[in-house]
Symmetry: C2
Subunit: 229 residues, 2 copies
DNA sequence: TCCAATTGTTTGAGTGCTTAAACAATATCC
DNA sequence: GGATATTGTTTAAGCACTCAAACAATTGGA
C-alpha cells in the first residue's frame, strides 16, 4: 500500500464529497459535478477511480461516502483550505471571497510548515496589543503605493487602486464600447467598487464610470500604479 | 488570441527555460528534462506544444528561446516564485530549502493580491523597530507548542519538535530496523537535525538516535505534539 | 400502477502529460 | 575524414481528466 501523493483533482473530489456528505442530501453525482464545474460523466469516472483506490465507498446510482482512508485525506485537504483562508482573511485582511478563491488553488501545495508559521504569525499579531490596528492602518495607507511593476488582470486590481491598461483582449462588441469610453493601452483605470454579489464591478476611467462583468475585467491586463482614485 | 490560463506544467517549462537560457549553455532539452525531473521525449513534446502556442522559439536540435509573449509569462511565474520564497524565508523564517520547495508548488496559484499583502506584511514587520526580534523570539518559543492536531510526514516535522508516530509505510528491510528501534505507531519521535546537504536526517526516538533518508522519513506519518526534545 | 421527468452511467472520443524503445542528428576524438 | 559517443526526436503506448451523445435507472406524480 503506497502513499502516493494524490493529484490536485483527486483532492478536490475528496474535499467536495466530504463537504456534501455532511448535508442532508448527501453527496450526489450531480451536486459534485456542479460544485467542481464539470459534467456528470466526469464525476462518474472519478468516482470509479477513487473507489479502486479505496478512498470512496460507492455503488452506482447509490450514495457516495468516504472510506476511513478517504476521509482522512479529505480532512487533510479541508484543513489546509481553512488554514489558508483564515490567514488570508484574518491576517492579510482579504475579503472572504478573495480569500476563498486564493485558498482553493493553493491548498494542494501548502506544506505543513508554511501553514504552521502562517497560523503562528497571525497569533503573534493578535497577541501584541495595538499591533493589528497598526497593520490594518498600514494596509489602508499602502493601497495604491504598492509593489512597483505588479501586473494582473483588472479583475484582480484592488478597489481604489489605480492601474495602467496594458492590453485589452475582449470580444468585439464590448471592445467597441470600451474604446469609446477610452479604455485603451496606456490609460489609467481603477475599480471603484464590486457589487454585493461580486458581479458586475464598477470601473472608473478618464472620469467616466462604467460597469462590466468580472469575466470581461479578467481579460484586461493592468499594471498597478501608486495613488488612489 | 485568447489568454487561456496556462497549465501549471506549461508554466514550469517556461520558468525553467527562462532560467536556463540565462546561462552560457543556454536552455537545452536534456537540461530542461533534468531540471523538471522528466525524460527528454517529454520535453520534446512540450516544446512542440509551446511553439504552437507561440511561447517559445525552437527549431529541432537547436537552441530553445522564449518569444516576447513567452518571456512575459515566464517572468510572471518567476516573479510569483521569488515573492513567495522571500515571504517564506524573510517573514516566516523558513530555511532556504523549505521555502524553495513550498514556493515551487504554490507559485502557480498565488494571486496578485495575496503576493502583494504578503510583501506588505513583511515590510510592516521590518519597519517597526523591535518587532522582527519579537516575532523571531515567538517562533523559537513556540516550537513544539504548535497547532494541535497538525499531521505531516516525519520529513516535514520541524527539527526539535516532537511528534507521535501514526503510521509507518516503508520497505520491509527498513521496517525491521525501525521496529527494533521502537518506531511503532503511538511512540514519540523527533527530528534532531538535518545533514548539511539535507540527507540523511538524525532522528531521536525513545532515547535512541538513528539516521534515515528523507525518502524514508516521508513514509512515516506523525502528529505534532507540544514540547521540545 | 405506470408513465414521464429527473438523475446517473456508459460509450466513444479528444487533450495533456508522461514513458520506453527505436531512430536520427550532432559532437568528439583519433 | 570517418568512427564513435552524446544528445535529441519520433513512435507507440498508457494514464488522468474531460466532454457530448446515447442509454439506463430512479423518482414522483397522476
Amino acid at each position: 500500500m503506497k502513499i502516493e501523493r494524490l493529484s490536485a483533482k483527486a483532492e478536490d473530489y475528496l474535499e467536495t464529497i466530504l463537504r456534501l456528505s455532511e448535508t442532508l442530501r448527501g453527496a450526489r453525482t450531480g451536486d459534485i459535478a456542479e460544485a467542481l464545474n464539470v459534467q456528470p460523466p466526469t464525476v462518474s469516472a472519478a468516482l470509479k477511480s477513487l473507489t479502486e483506490q479505496g478512498l470512496v465507498d460507492y455503488t452506482p446510482y447509490g450514495a457516495v461516502g468516504l472510506t476511513p482512508k478517504g476521509r482522512q485525506l479529505a480532512e487533510d485537504v479541508a484543513g489546509r483550505h481553512v488554514a489558508l483562508r483564515r490567514f488570508f482573511t484574518d491576517t492579510l485582511g482579504m475579503s472572504q471571497e478573495d480569500a476563498e478563491h486564493a485558498a482553493c488553488g493553493m491548498e494542494h501545495d501548502a506544506t505543513p510548515l508554511v501553514l504552521d508559521r502562517m497560523a503562528l504569525l497571525g497569533d503573534f499579531l493578535r497577541t501584541h496589543p495595538g499591533m493589528m490596528e497598526k497593520w490594518k492602518a498600514m494596509r489602508e495607507t499602502a493601497r495604491g503605493e504598492r509593489a512597483p511593476g505588479v501586473e494582473s488582470s483588472l479583475k484582480e486590481l484592488p478597489p481604489g487602486v489605480r492601474g495602467v491598461v496594458m492590453s485589452v483582449d475582449v470580444a468585439d462588441s464590448l471592445r467597441k464600447r470600451l474604446v469609446e469610453m477610452g479604455v485603451t493601452p496606456g490609460v489609467l483605470i481603477a475599480v471603484e467598487r464590486v457589487a454585493p454579489l461580486g458581479d458586475p464591478i464598477a470601473v472608473e476611467v478618464r472620469g467616466y464610470r462604467l460597469s462590466m462583468r468580472k469575466a470581461e475585467a479578467a481579460r484586461i491586463r493592468v499594471k498597478w500604479r501608486p495613488g488612489l482614485i
